[in-house]
Amino acid sequence: KAERKRGVPLSIQELVSEAEVPYQILNEDGQLIGSPPDIAPDRLMEMYRWMYFIRAFSNKIVALQRQGKATTWGALNGHEASSVGFAAPLLPQDWIAGSYRDAGSYFVKGLPPAMVAYYQRGLPPHYPAEAHCLPVQIVIGTQMLHATGLAMAAKIKGDPAVVVGLCGDGATSEGDVNEALNFAGVFKAPIVFGFINNGWAISLPRSRQTAAKTLAARGPAFGIPSRLVDGNDLFAVYATVQEAVDRARNGEGPTLIEAITYRLGAHTTADDPTRYRSQEELDEWNAKEPIKRLRLYLMSCDMLTEAEDTRIAAEAEADALATVEEAANTPAPPPESIFDMTWQNISPRMEQQRTAMKHELEEGEGL
């Protein structure tokens, strides 16, 4: 009975009323089981390269962290299709607000990856304004309200901009995320909510995060159409996001998309997942991972050869290395810049504190 749904997007009624099967176009073996979205071959290859880059970048930061050269990092492995699929349909005027785990989406949207590598050095990154990526904030779920506010503002100003707000399965338990859905519904904001359900919130499995069968079920609760997709299937994510972005841009309001994927790595470099999850589960999801199936598909339709693939992998490696090197060579701001980062016009007292801080710096750590 579940089988018959494969390859057909589910309506929300069906979603809520029975056990769910995520929408899938490209199955685990790289076979098309639905009709792929209209993506030009070059663009598709570019997206494929992004997926490789995201993984290479993340692996690089993990390595740096092990050497004490980067702060705590949440690996992106497994999220590549979702990350690319949520960002690729966007136009330059559109925005993304995501979590630490959505760095890949930011890259695709236009944030220079070196910014993230710089941040991982523990330094304040200067996001270029035109990338329209909200600097990652750490309070889980909270950015979904900012995303909704961006979308409300775009609508108020009459701009044809759409916002993508991304958060994890754990985040959906936060009041803020539910308030965001509700505001977006009431104000018919041009926003696409992406719940990137990777099965775990640190050590808490999805099944213990909420008693609902799906996170997509949150949609009708707030009057928002919602969709469930296979988050490891670039085509399913891309097609669904594209449709939702079009709806938003046409003034039809918000859409909620739950993308089911898997966190292949530890929660962060500080986490030991062997304490709470099984190797079997990991094996199962490694078999379903997103890069492999796209590779198989691309090869099957002669868009990619083994040799090219090897080259793409090597380039991703090289790019990732260049990225972290660029970040490493970007100078740190002086410590007293924290005052100017607080307010545009700092108070006399803060001026004094800045002077005092500089004085302390000169005095140094000796007595």
């Binding site: 996001y127 909200l134 600097p135 909270t142 900012h146 506010g149 961006l150 503002a153 775009a154 545009q344």
Partner: protein, 325 residues
């Protein structure tokens, strides 16, 4: 024209909105109903539902979406229906609005004004009378303004809206309609972070703000009647960042200071002002700085509030004691 504080704030909103299209007004019941205190009366009729709108009942949602709008380039003026509910949105205020500039290393600002009524003495239920401003001293990145009269309210609100960084603007409920004051018809601003010296004097400095200003004034009147003391009265107007210079200059002159606030005593504005006087004027101080404040308990039920809030007599006694050698 003589306006109440409600009218002055309403006028400020109307004038700012007509000059700057980016300004929007949002909150619970601010639209058709004009706010529960009518501070936003007629604004929706004048500026339409796109720029003046009611939100669902969710304070974190209000501030959180306002942060997004401010980042986008609007200038949201968000109302929280009573200041006691600011804590519901504390994360959005302190960890978000206050940090947007910081987090983005200056790429984005968060020019957001959060208006909220506060203060006791009007027999409101729980959470409607609380003075929370002191907690926002420990939450860097927010400015906190508390006008004490219609004239200041208008000019300070205009400045708050103009400010490139987030401002919490707290309006004392008791002052909303307690008196009228001449307020210029045209737009003007009063700079944030600057205190006003309302009365000059040389024997003792009384420092207060917001709803306690009339109490301080009445207390000063009584003390003057009693012993003719020369009393300087400072209205802080902005409590973060507050005007250290004015305080220091005054206390160095008088050598005595009394701080009056209805907020709980511990760690709030009464503590920081005392500490600043310690930092800068210790050698001029003739007596300990007196702190006349609410007590270290929650704000009481309305039937018991009169003995919680500083009264003119209590303040006057503190001034007399501080004047005593």
């Amino acid at each position: 024209m003589k306006l109440t504080m409600v009218e002055a704030i309403n006028q400020a909103l109307e004038q700012e909105m007509s000059e700057d299209e980016r300004i929007i007004v949002m909150g619970e019941d601010v639209g058709k109903n004009g706010g529960v205190f009518r501070v936003t009366d007629h604004l929706q009729a004048r500026f339409g539902e796109t720029r003046v709108f009611d939100t669902p009942l969710a304070e974190s949602g209000i501030i959180g979406t306002a942060v997004g709008m401010a980042i986008y380039g609007l200038r949201p003026v968000a109302e929280i229906q009573f200041a006691g509910f600011l804590y519901v949105s504390m994360n959005q205020l302190v960890s978000q609005a206050a940090r947007i500039r910081f987090r983005s290393a200056g790429t984005y600002g968060c020019p957001l004004v959060v208006r909220s009524p506060y203060g006791g003495g009007v027999r409101t239920p729980e959470m409607h009378s609380d003075s929370l401003e002191g907690a926002f001293l420990q939450t860097p990145g927010l400015k906190v303004v508390l006008p004490s009269n219609p004239y200041d309210a208008k000019g300070l609100l205009a400045a708050a809206i103009e400010d490139p960084d987030p401002v919490i603007f707290l309006e004392n409920i008791k002052l909303y309609r307690s008196f009228r004051q001449e307020v210029p018809a045209e737009r003007y601003t009063i700079p944030l972070g600057k205190a006003a010296i309302l009365e000059e004097g040389s024997d003792v400095t009384v420092i207060s703000y917001g709803g306690m200003m009339p109490v301080a004034q009445e207390a000063i009147k009584r003390v003057k009647e009693k012993n003719g003391a020369s009393i300087e009265l400072i209205d802080l107007r902005t409590i973060w960042p507050f005007d250290e210079e004015t305080i220091i200059t005054s206390v160095e002159k008088t050598g005595r200071a009394v701080i009056v606030t209805e907020a709980p005593r511990a760690g709030g504005i009464s503590a920081e002002v005392t500490a600043v006087i310690n930092d800068h004027c210790l050698y001029s101080l003739l007596k300990p700085v007196a702190r006349v404040t609410g007590y270290d308990t929650p704000f009481p039920p309305p039937g018991l509030e009169d003995n919680y809030m500083p009264t003119p007599a209590r303040v006057a006694r503190a001034i007399l004691e501080t004047l005593d050698n």
